[in-house]
């Protein structure tokens, strides 16, 4: 997708273009029901009755919604500065002393820069640290420095670690409570700012390690996590007009995978199985599901919707989501082709 270096891509006055800053603070398009900072508000509320909860960040309190917690519980908030390695090590130390640390940064910095510190100081000793990280997958237009397109691939191989990829504000609120109750290390991908509310229409309840069938359909089975569940729900509605029935299995826990739920829906014959994830197609939910189906001898027609194995462009998110095939319109287009 990248153009040759420094070649102008368009004439400056050609037409109005979307800007990178659009949707930086939030992935919610205009007009969608949202709730503000669901993670920060939930954590602040939980901390009122649970003195063991502490919060740490590496200069990204405002950008991970942890500022809400910090404002309400300033004595339990540790600003660690721009230092992700000591952020994770210190969280490990606080957990050793009996606290329940929530450490926040961007997903790129946790996965790429602090990996060894999460692995050896936290996961190897199964310590009770939650690291909650913003800008997962393609949720910023700032380019590869900020786009954590491979964070799940990096973390899936880490023993002891639970990995959560919530879909919307409701999912984040419930997941925050659930991981606070859970003993052990958890990585949660975070949608921040104004986060859409989608799952309240689906009688939904988050549980660690559980997938939920949100809707049934005879022709396509979407298996999805994170914000892609919003997108496949929209795609499913759009395809109703063509009398294409789409089932949606939401898999907010990437690890441990709910193998039972996935197998039971994937075994239903005659459906195209499409795994949709806000992540590179390498090493994420799609490959996890594929390996599971292979191991168990379940062989549906299988397709993946996810980000390509590339360093992605900078730009406005709607532009990039179309370009890399994770917008609702692109999903609908691809599935129609696959069904032909």
């Amino acid at each position: 997708m990248r153009l040759s270096k420094f070649e102008p891509r368009f004439a400056v006055n050609e037409r109005e273009r979307k800007t990178t800053s659009a949707m930086i603070a939030s992935i919610a398009p205009d007009g969608v029901l949202t709730r503000n900072a669901p993670f920060g508000h939930t954590l602040a509320r939980l901390a009122r009755s649970r003195s063991e909860i502490v919060g740490l960040t590496a200069d990204l309190g405002k950008y991970t919604d942890l500022h809400v917690f910090a404002q309400e519980h300033p004595d339990r908030f540790y600003q660690m500065g721009m230092a992700e390695q000591v952020l994770m090590s210190a969280a490990a130390g606080l957990a050793r002393e009996g606290f329940k640390p929530f450490a926040t940064t961007y997903a790129v910095f946790a996965s790429r820069r602090a990996y060894d510190f999460i692995c050896m100081a936290i996961a190897e000793e199964n310590l009770d640290v939650k690291f909650v990280c913003a800008l997962p997958g393609l949720t910023t237009g700032y380019g590869p420095s900020h786009q954590a397109t491979e964070d799940i691939a990096i973390f899936r191989g880490m023993p002891n670690l639970t990995i959560i990829d919530p879909c919307d504000a409701l999912d984040i609120e419930q997941a925050t409570e659930a991981i606070a109750d859970h003993k052990g290390p958890v990585y949660m991908r975070l949608l921040r700012g104004k986060v859409p509310v989608v799952l309240d229409d689906y009688d939904y309840r988050f549980q660690i390690g559980k997938a939920r069938l949100l809707r049934e359909g005879e022709d396509v089975l979407f298996i999805s996590s994170g914000l892609m569940t919003m997108r496949v729900l929209e795609a499913a509605k759009a395809m109703e007009a063509d009398r294409i029935g789409c089932a949606v299995l939401h898999v907010p826990t990437i690890k441990p995978l709910d193998t039972e739920a996935i197998l039971s829906v994937a075994r239903k014959p005659g459906r195209l199985v499409v795994v949709a994830e806000n992540h590179t197609i390498i090493g994420g939910l799609g490959e996890g599901v594929a390996a599971l189906l292979m191991r168990e001898g379940v062989h549906p027609v299988f397709r993946q919707i996810g980000l390509p194995d590339e360093f992605l462009d900078a730009g406005a998110l709607p532009t990039l989501h179309d370009r890399y095939g994770i917008s609702t319109a692109e999903i609908v287009g691809r599935v129609r082709v696959w069904l032909q």
Binding site: G81, V86, S89, A90, G93
Partner: protein, 288 residues
């Protein structure tokens, strides 16, 4: 320290004979463990034995029978390969039984070659990936302050480990958070895997660096027990709201002259017949 009675029972000709005897015994345990493996980080253990003797028999508050006692001082070993030295100290402290040293580095032993928290009582953290201990210490110090505990956190690093950038993140953090309950110790033996530390990635002038980072820093001869004890006393009694650093210049394989003079001492090779000679050399240098 809780186990103080035993120090006074040591034979003594001067004020620190007890500690010198402890250091001798720590060295002896380490050499015997080295013999089990036929090789190992005996050079480091011999070098740092005096520091560990002061730590475990003068400075630290702990209960040998209850290594998770809430009011203990925490001793974090960043440098996992120094486990042999810490096992020797823990044996001497009564945390581990002496006969268990025969299992050092063998399958299913509680005393693996690289120190891990899940294996060994008294091993607070899993070290070995260097550059982790000081950051974990920062978090533990913050946690202890939250609990209003007066326990101290000690972290033993090596000079080579100072090459890890994470150590300096932690050093900034400790000073920023005014962690006066943190005492870090660098075993400065000027050896690392590929050669002298100062020739690989020099941390000098190391005392100045830590002072510039906002620490109280001392540098002492780490094989001079009186000097080490005074440095620990100074670090513990200081009233300043700063983390404390003690740089200890030590000599690899200290106490066994024929090993001290060997060129490559990071991972020391000892011939089978030399273990007995090493124990004899230690015996000759044993304090009266």
């Amino acid at each position: 320290m809780v186990d103080a009675a035993s120090e006074t029972e040591m034979p003594r000709a001067g004020s620190n004979v007890g500690l010198a005897e402890r250091a001798y015994r720590i060295r002896r345990h380490a050499v015997r463990m080295g013999e089990v493996q036929g090789q190992g980080y005996v050079g480091q253990a011999l070098g740092v034995a005096d520091v560990l003797a002061v730590a475990y028999f003068h400075a630290l508050r702990y209960r040998p029978e209850d290594t998770l006692w809430e009011e203990r001082d925490r001793f974090l070993l960043s440098i996992g390969h120094y486990a042999i030295a810490l096992y020797a100290a823990l044996i001497e402290a009564g945390v581990l039984p002496e006969e268990e040293l025969a299992t050092y580095g063998t399958d299913d032993s509680r005393m693996p070659m690289s120190g891990m928290a899940a294996y060994t009582p008294g091993m607070e953290i899993t070290g070995g990936s260097l550059g982790h201990g000081l950051g974990i210490a920062v978090g533990m110090c913050l946690g202890l302050k939250r609990k209003r505990s007066d326990s101290l956190v000690y972290n033993l690093l090596s000079d080579g480990e100072l090459g890890e950038g994470s150590t300096w993140e932690a050093a900034m953090s400790a000073a920023h958070h005014r962690l006066d309950n943190l005492i870090a110790i660098v075993d400065f033996n000027n050896q690392q895997a590929d050669g002298p530390s100062t020739a690989m990635l020099s941390s000098e002038p190391v005392t100045d660096k830590f002072e510039a980072f906002g620490w109280h820093a001392q540098r002492v001869d780490g094989n001079d027990i009186d000097a080490v004890r005074e440095a620990f006393d100074c670090a513990r009694s200081l009233k300043e709201p700063r983390p404390r650093m003690i740089i200890c210049d030590t000599r690899m394989a200290k106490g066994v002259p024929f090993l001290e003079s060997r060129d490559v001492t990071h991972f020391i090779r000892v011939e089978p017949h030399e273990w007995a000679l090493a124990l004899e050399a230690l015996e000759q240098g044993r304090p009266l």
